[in-house]
Amino acid sequence: MSQRTERRGIHVDQSDLLCKKGCGYYGNAAWQGLCSKCWREEYQRVRQKQIQDDWALAEKLQREEEAAYASSHGAQTQSHPQSTAPQSHPGHASLGPFSKFEEKKTNEKTRKVTTVKKFFSPSSRTAPKKETQEGKTSSPSISRHASFDTDQVSKDFVDFLKNLQKPGREIHKQCRAFIVAMSSKKDLSADELSECVQDFYQNMADRLLSHYKGWFRRTVVVISSSDSVEQVMDQVEKYIMTRLYKSVFCPETTDDEKKDLATQTRIRALHWVTIQMLCVSMDEEIPEVSENVVKAITDVIEMDSKRVPRDKLGCITRCSKHIFSAIRITKNEPASADDFLPALIYIVLKANPPRLQSNIQYITRFCNPSRLMTGEDGYYFTNLCCAAAFIEKLDAQSLNLSPEEFERYMSGQASPRLNSSEADWPQTGTAPGVTATNTVLAQLNHNLELLSGLSSRQETLMEAAQSLQADLLSWPAGVQQEVNNILEKYPLEILPRTVSAIDANNVDTDNLPPPLTPQVFAG
């Protein structure tokens, strides 16, 4: 692990690389910073139950395989003389690759191989290192690393081959032998690995074909020989590629990963490409169309999650079918390649599928070639390759733009969507130079203006509030002052009190009759 890190030229402190439990071994990020041993202990404790399940399955598989081996070992010599040689010493064959495996035991990828090897030959259980490291744990603990998926695929494969009886066992043996052989070839380049797998497909298909030609007459199975070969080959591909996926998908010997990143960045930089520029005849305003577009995007993204090349192709085909229906709904007539390719390009641009280049490379390298070259899946895959190539080389001319426009869009100075967006923010359009900004910038400007307007209004508000406060503070003083002034101006005078009779003021009293005197009535 550390060696690989140094080779990449990344500086990492030695202590960071060591196992978190401090046992002195190197840790691995994939094992949460633990070394293989501590990780195993940790892992085992947490997933005891699953280990037991795995154990049961592994034992079942092994029993089946041993039974298959026992019967085919005796039988194969007469039924398949052309294939006896490779199988004559299967146990012997496994020893070779295994010694190499020991050297690289820290490599995470080899764990899966161990599982396969265990299935293949009991001899791998006697691995000295494993025994000392794990103490009490025996062979099934090794198999726990094989994910549930892988086990399921193995199980399906065994089930499928059971129907084929003797040749089925033969096929199983071949596949296991091949996977073991592949595990010893990790240092080969991707192209060489691809060649190995393709050779294997070719040999297997040839062998099946010649076998079926002889076998056909003697059995009741009434299917054409090429069809059954195809069927078996599909299963073989599924089994092998599920097993090999981790070690051959985006291998370190290639620059696939770099290309993935480049493509991803490229697609991000092209976010401004509109459906009109690509001359796509899809109208996303129609709900059914946009539904299909969403489905197509989902499918092309889903491709990355599949392991078997054929399943990946299936995703591409589904994606393409959705595009076809989208075009058909829009145009009211069946789509042609002239409509389809631009639409696919648009979908890829919108989806930005993860690890696009790696997936394309993986399918090209490891898919059964007969499927890839001619069939319907192959057609859609080719279109996807074209779309990827187009996006890589995309320039002003391919979008019917002038080079200046293209540059402006690429650098983010302008946006083709500005014309429509100006209507939404009329204020920004009036400012000089705003025409050269893209949608987001325009919106940003608009928001900034709004904010500055708000802040100025708030300032006036604050001023007004402060003056109001000042007014309020000065008001009682003013009132007091006024009151004082008035008090000073009109001092309180207490005038002498003049007492007079009520009638004193009356001038004409003489003419009045005398006032009534109260009379007291007795009774």
């Binding site: 040689a85 032998a177 040839d206 042609s336 002239d338 899946d377 074209c386």
Partner: protein, 204 residues
């Protein structure tokens, strides 16, 4: 979905709106759809079984995008094709120039691919001779020069369409036999040289 086994890949090449898809549509579904601005109709991929003598050959017919903007990608399309039907429009001389381009490309990149030169819209020319822009003899000379078969077809009337595809299938059938025998010897040699079965067994 893709249950149909395909024996040979046949690509349709030619400028936009020369009628590549109409040709396929006519051949596969025996129909011709009319509309004002329809450059192509029908699905882009068709698998069509054809009876050749005793055998049935299934052709996988690949429609391609003819626009010039995808010219750089065209090689990806015809990789591994056993036959290419290069179409041109009898009423459009520029489409013939483009056909010459495809032929050049094919000769350079795909030597196993057999070329069929196919003129389309013959019905228009028959209706009005002045519309013809490509002389029959010029095209015939060109076809002979490149060693290609030459057909003048009409998707509207169906004239010569079946003959074209039948010829493609027959040619494939006769060459496939040679091809297969050649391939088999190739595999034998390879097996001796570098086989994983070999290396697996004799590793130690």
């Amino acid at each position: 979905m893709s249950a149909m086994r395909v024996d040979a890949k046949v690509v349709m090449l030619g400028k936009e709106s020369v009628g590549k898809t109409s040709l396929v549509e006519r051949y596969v579904h025996h129909r011709f759809l009319v509309g004002p601005y329809q450059n192509t109709i029908g699905a882009a991929f068709v698998a069509k079984p054809i009876q050749v003598g005793e055998k049935v050959i299934t052709l996988g017919i690949w429609d391609t995008a003819g626009s010039e903007r995808y010219e750089a990608m065209s090689r990806i399309y015809y990789r591994g094709a056993r036959a290419a039907i290069v179409c041109y429009d009898l009423t459009d001389s520029s489409s013939f120039q483009r056909a010459r381009f495809w032929v050049m490309e094919l000769q350079n990149c795909e030597e196993h691919c057999k070329i069929y030169l196919c003129a389309t819209k013959n019905d228009l020319v028959e209706g009005d001779r002045s519309l013809r822009q490509i002389d029959y003899h010029d095209a015939q000379d060109f076809a002979e020069e490149i060693g290609a078969q030459h057909f003048e077809t009409s998707s509207k009337t169906g004239n010569n369409v079946d003959e074209l595809f039948q010829k493609v299938a027959e040619d494939y059938n006769s060459t496939a036999f040679q091809y297969m025998t050649a391939e088999e010897t190739g595999v034998d040699l390879g097996q001796k040289k570098d086989s994983y079965f070999y290396s697996c067994c004799h590793n130690n």
